[in-house]
Amino acid sequence: MIVLADQLLVLVMLINLVMLGTSRLIFSIRAVAVQGVILGVLPGLIHPFSFHLTVITVVIILAKGIIIPFLISDAVRKAHIRREVEPFIGYVPTLLIGAVFTALSFAFAQNLPLAPEHKDLLFVPASIATLLTGFLLLTTRRKAISQVIGYLVLENGIFVFGLLLSEAMPAMVEAGALLDLLVGIFIMGIVINHISREFSSIDTSRLQTLKEE
């Protein structure tokens, strides 16, 4: 089971790179949905079965895999955008930086003072790599939708780390994380709506007109 979990985590990291390399928003959203579903399955693989665990798995798959991606693609449809145009750093360079970050996160995880039973797992490097990918998406992409996706990826990274820490997966921790996510998406959705309404564009680089002089 642990071996399967590790393989899934490799998949998560590959999805990270996919998101960094693509320019099509719908494709990014689907990738994030797949990543969410994988994350939903993961707890079932590493913890013994219980009713509680089933509920959590279902809720996570619903939220991360279906509802949130649906909301974002809905926003994409309403705002009439298909592609991320002119990112601050091009796709190939971000892809390379993403690869470097993934490598670095492996190196960094080696140096962390982890508990011996976590030493050989991929959880820590995968979580750090996902976190860094989220940051990379947030900083390099221009469209607000891409930033929402970046935020989601960031949250996924934190979630992977949480899997490691909460052995018994207390429901409160999970609920808190999900709520956090939902609020984040909610705010982002409102912001996107307002940006596109006010500026007839959702290009966040135009937001600088809002800064005080």
Partner: protein, 661 residues
């Protein structure tokens, strides 16, 4: 006789009533009713407060109230001792007068801000009552901050005006600097005593350095609020730009809260270090001379009055300083006379400065300007305000038969009797300082009264000046009566202040009676009566003679000009020119002269004259401009690029990850 009712509860009830007085006005859809109701409530509260103050002065025991609030700072203690009472008396009197005056001065049907102003005026007065009654430092700081902030909201009533905005910012800066010092001071006291409750009087003995820091921070925090030099920089602008009744309240009452704070802090100590008395004496003398010198050059009516407040605060500090020096030199005259002078002047200044500020409100109402050089000839047009303003002006100059003289008399007597026989007769120098200040004050207020009320009107607005309604003149009349009564019968003031001096100075009753009997109070009364009779007789004779002689109208003194205009009269600026030149080191004038090629200036040639304020304009403003420039480089970090902001977080995270390795 008052033992049946506890006066402290009256004070608390009065504070509550004042704090809530403006609330109905916010809910009523007729704001004018709310304003009238608020004025009525404040007057009721003022009567309750004065009743309680008199009860406490006549020996009714003060009770301490303890409120067990859920905050972790110990119980909130409230009580009123005699030191509180001496500040509460002018507070309630001025608050009552001001609230009545505001109904006509800032009527709700003309000013949309009237509701807000009424609300904050009540809160302002109530917070000051709590300031003098708080016996727990956290409660004190809370009331202090409410006072400071409500004063800010009051003084920025005309917030559309950029001048008002600027002085508002300066005031906020000054008051928060002071609060910071007070936080430091109360933290040190908490460290020393282990509790947030105020230490009992004369119970605290701290290590020398700690005591020094406590006293210095108290002087910064409280002295800044009182307007002690060099922390006075906020005062002229704030008083000048606030609505006049708010200025009256701020100058007549709020400045005294700073003095209260210092007196209360000093009372904690078993023995105050020797240098404190001299320092306070020096700062007081400096403030008095500088304050009146600044006032002498002003052209703005209210700015002049504000600067003269600095002078009066200086005189009060001179009194406190004399008393402290006296304690150190074991000179009972200095102690008693210094305290008498300070306490009497606290009451007096509350009376006459409020009177003058209310008077300035009437003048602004009538002429629409604060520039005294645009007024003139108002004595004929304002037959009630003019004599009231004259009484205030004479009182503030410290001339008999008015109350200002009584306080200064005690200071003179103290300085001359014990100051000279002291081993170090430096304290005697107070007498010439006071004389200098008094002389400058006479010149300043002759200028003020003469330019405003005498001569011919210098502008159309002044020519059409009109008397105010009775709602505005009645409070002024009350204050002027107070000035006159206290001046004519100084025994009243002495009787009022004696228990406070005995309490605060720890002086036994026989010693107190022995010393006060040496101050010529009864002769002063007789001289005062003679003076008034003399003035009345001469005035009556003059009027009789005036009636019998034929009348002719014409220009007074044409200076050989065939067509003189009212603009050719002496202005305030020209009247005080010589004095300002002599005081050039203290008040920096900024003159822009035209260069003249011919004997007569060309048309359109202008001469301008402004006064700069040393601390604010020459020190603080350049320093802050420099700091602002330095920080403007930091503004580049804030560019509005959302992505780069995320990058900052990211970079911070990376640094934190790499740091330990």
């Amino acid at each position: 006789m008052f033992s049946a009712v506890d006066p402290t509860i009256y004070l608390l009830a009065a504070a509550t009533l004042m704090a809530l007085s403006g609330v109905p006005g916010l809910a009523l859809n007729r704001p004018a009713w709310g304003q009238h109701l608020a004025a009525f409530l404040v007057v009721v509260a003022a009567f309750m407060g004065e009743y309680a103050a008199v009860a406490l002065l006549t020996g009714s025991p003060g009770v301490t109230y303890q409120v067990d609030w859920p905050l972790p700072f110990g119980p909130a203690l409230l009580s009123a001792d005699l030191l509180s009472v001496i500040f509460l008396m002018p507070l309630f009197l001025v608050a009552g007068c001001v609230s009545v005056y505001s109904v006509a001065y800032w009527p709700a049907h003309k000013h949309a801000s009237a509701g807000k102003l009424t609300l904050f005026l009540g809160i302002f007065a109530a917070s000051m009552v709590i300031v003098v009654m708080a016996r727990n430092s956290v409660l004190f700081i809370m009331a202090w901050e409410i006072m400071a902030l409500s004063a800010y909201f009051l003084l920025t009533s005309e917030q559309q005006n950029p001048d008002v905005q600027r002085v508002g910012i300066v005031y906020l800066f000054a008051t928060h600097t002071g609060s910071m010092a007070l936080f430091a001071m109360f933290s040190l006291l908490r460290e020393a005593t282990g509790t947030f409750a105020f230490p009992l009087s004369h119970s605290l003995s701290l290590p020398v350095t700690v005591a020094a820091v406590v006293i210095i921070t108290a002087l910064i925090g409280f002295g800044g609020k009182a307007g002690l030099m060099p922390l006075h920089y906020w005062l002229p602008g704030a008083h000048a730009n606030a609505p006049s009744h708010v200025s009256a309240m701020m100058s007549g009452v709020m400045l005294k809260m700073g003095i209260y704070g210092i007196l209360r802090t000093l009372s904690f100590f078993v023995g105050v270090p020797a240098w404190v008395g001299w320092l306070i004496l020096l700062l007081g003398a400096w403030s008095a001379i500088n304050g009146i010198a600044m006032a002498a050059g002003q052209r703005d009516l209210k700015r002049l009055l504000a600067c003269s407040s600095i002078e009066n605060i200086g005189i009060i500090f001179i009194g406190i300083g004399l008393a402290l020096v006296g304690v150190q030199l074991h000179a009972p005259y200095l102690v008693v006379c210094g305290l008498f002078g300070a306490f009497i002047h606290i009451i007096n200044h509350g009376l006459f400065k409020s009177l003058l500020f209310l008077g300035s409100g009437v003048l602004i109402h009538a002429t629409g300007t604060r520039e005294i050089d645009r007024m003139g000839g108002l004595a004929r047009r304002m037959p009630i305000t003019s004599p009231l303003f004259l009484i205030g002006s004479l009182a503030i100059c410290g001339l008999p038969p008015l109350n200002g003289f009584v306080g200064e008399l005690f200071l003179y007597v103290g300085a001359i009797s014990d100051g000279i026989i002291a081993p170090l007769p430096l304290a005697a120098l107070v007498a010439p300082v006071l004389a200098l200040v008094g002389g400058l004050a006479v010149m300043t207020f002759v200028k003020l009264y003469g330019i405003i009320f005498l001569g011919a009107p210098r502008s159309d607005a002044a020519a059409h000046g009109h008397e105010a309604t009775a709602t505005m003149t009645a409070p002024m009349f009350l204050l002027a009566t107070g000035c006159l009564a206290a001046g004519m019968v100084p025994v009243l003031l002495v009787r009022l202040v004696s228990p406070v001096v005995a309490f605060y100075g720890d002086v036994a009753a026989p010693a107190l009676a022995r010393i006060t009997s040496r101050v010529p109070i009864v002769p002063l009364t007789i001289v005062n009566i003679l003076l008034v009779v003399l003035v009345a007789v001469i005035g009556a004779a003059y009027l009789l003679r005036l009636r019998r002689l034929p009348r002719a109208q014409g220009s007074t003194w044409g200076c050989a000009y065939p067509v003189p205009t009212p603009r050719m009269q002496y202005t305030g600026t020209s009247f005080s020119e010589m004095m300002v030149n002599l005081l050039g080191a203290i008040v920096a004038t900024n003159r822009r002269r035209p260069t003249l090629a011919t004997a007569f200036p060309a048309a359109g040639t202008r001469f301008s004259y402004t006064l700069t304020e040393t601390v604010l304009d020459r020190i603080l403003t350049p320093v802050f401009a420099g700091v602002g420039l330095a920080f403007s480089y930091l503004r580049r970090v804030q560019h509005g690029q959302l992505h780069i902001y995320v990058l900052y977080i990211f970079a911070t995270l990376c640094v934190l990850i790499i740091w330990p390795h």
